[in-house]
Structures are given as C-alpha cells and as structure tokens.
C-alpha cells in the first residue's frame, strides 16, 4: 500500500512571499500523484496532477509541483502567494492501475498581509 507524508502541518507565510509544501510518498510501483486544495468552508478541489511525461506540472493559479522519482517526492511551490491561497493542501497518490487515493494529513497554509 502507498503512504504519503506531508512534512509540515502548518505553514504561515506573508503575502507575495514564496511557499513550498513538502510531500513524500512510499510505493514500489508506478504511481499517479495529486495535490488537492480545500478552501475555507469548501470541498476538496484538484489543484494539479502528475501522470507521466514532464516531471514539472503547473496549475492555472501559479502553483507548480515537481515529481522526483529518486527522492519519491512531489513538492508543491508557488513563487508569490496571495491572501486567497489560504487553505488546506493535501498530497495524494494512487497506483497507476488503481483508483483509490491515499492522502497525506494535509498542510494548512495561512497567508498574512
């Protein structure tokens, strides 16, 4: 079975500063990787995903994540955050022939002016 570790439970950051959310996974087989975001009082939404190909994937709102197979990591970054990025972020993994997602415990990002 896969497991996902999100190394930071809380990340406070000032507006326009960069942020990095760390995610490591354990799996001996090929995987798909995802970042989901949960804004206050809303449901989980997909932010970006890695299936294959280029190891750098981007979202429409400026986030990017890089798949590193040797380090089994899928860290999420944004060079300049906005107040509206305040949310909880979840890293998730599934085997490439499976459907169920295994989630990390989540990282709460709080952006302050």
């Amino acid at each position: 079975a896969q497991s996902v570790t999100q190394l930071d439970s809380q990340v406070p950051v000032f507006e326009e500063a960069p942020v990095e959310l760390r995610c490591n996974y354990s799996s001996s087989v090929s995987v798909y990787l995802f970042w989901y975001v949960q804004y206050p009082n809303q449901g989980l939404q997909l932010l970006l995903k890695y299936l294959s190909g280029s190891t750098l994937v981007e979202s429409i709102n400026g986030f990017e994540a890089e798949f590193n197979k040797s380090q089994t990591s899928f860290h999420l970054r944004k060079p300049s955050v906005h107040i509206s990025d305040t949310a909880e972020y979840f890293c998730a993994v599934t085997r490439s022939n499976d459907y169920k997602l295994s989630f990390g415990a989540g990282t709460t990002v709080t952006v302050r002016a």
């Binding site: 999100q6 449901g43 989980l44 979840f90 085997r95 989630f103 990390g104």
Partner: protein
Amino acid sequence: GAGVSQTPSNKVTEKGKYVELRCDPISGHTALYWYRQSLGQGPEFLIYFQGTGAADDSGLPNDRFFAVRPEGSVSTLKIQRTERGDSAVYLCASSLAQPYNEQFFGPGTRLTVL
C-alpha cells in the same frame, strides 16, 4: 452542471443508532468513492464502486459499515450500531472510469456520535 451532492450536511446521532448517508454523483460518472476524514487527518479510503458493484471495499473498517449503489448512480453509506469513534466527515467523490481521471468531491457529511 451540478457537482457531487451529499445529504445530510450534518448528522448527530446517539451511540448504537443506525445512520444512512447519501451521495449523488455527477451525472455520467461511473466511478464513485467514499472516504472518511477524521479531525486533523487527510481523507481515508473506504469503498469504491464501478457502476453498481463495489470494486474495492478494502477500506471499510468493520462489518458495521456497508454501502450500496443499486442503480449505478446514487449511493448510500450505512453505518450500524454507531460508535463515538465513527464521528468524522464522510466524503463522497465521483469520476469517469479511468484511474487517472480527477475525482470530484462533495462537501461531505459531518457525523457526530454522542
């Protein structure tokens, strides 16, 4: 179109009672999933349906938990003899058939067992 809907949004029950949680997936999505999210944790897989059949129920914690999807659309998660440890947010998601497709999540049902 409408997203995934779940009812009720909140459910408070007493220990030992029976509860049903409903999920209405996005129209045309053949795959449906139930997850459970405890406080301070990420969602934890419970069961996955492909059409009407449960393709993987390996996440159900014990035989008090059961889920159905009789017509391949709406699903109901049933919990018998509820315990305080069952308190959590129960999330439903749906997707198109292939594993790489995005799972769309509902807002969840917050279950509190007193």
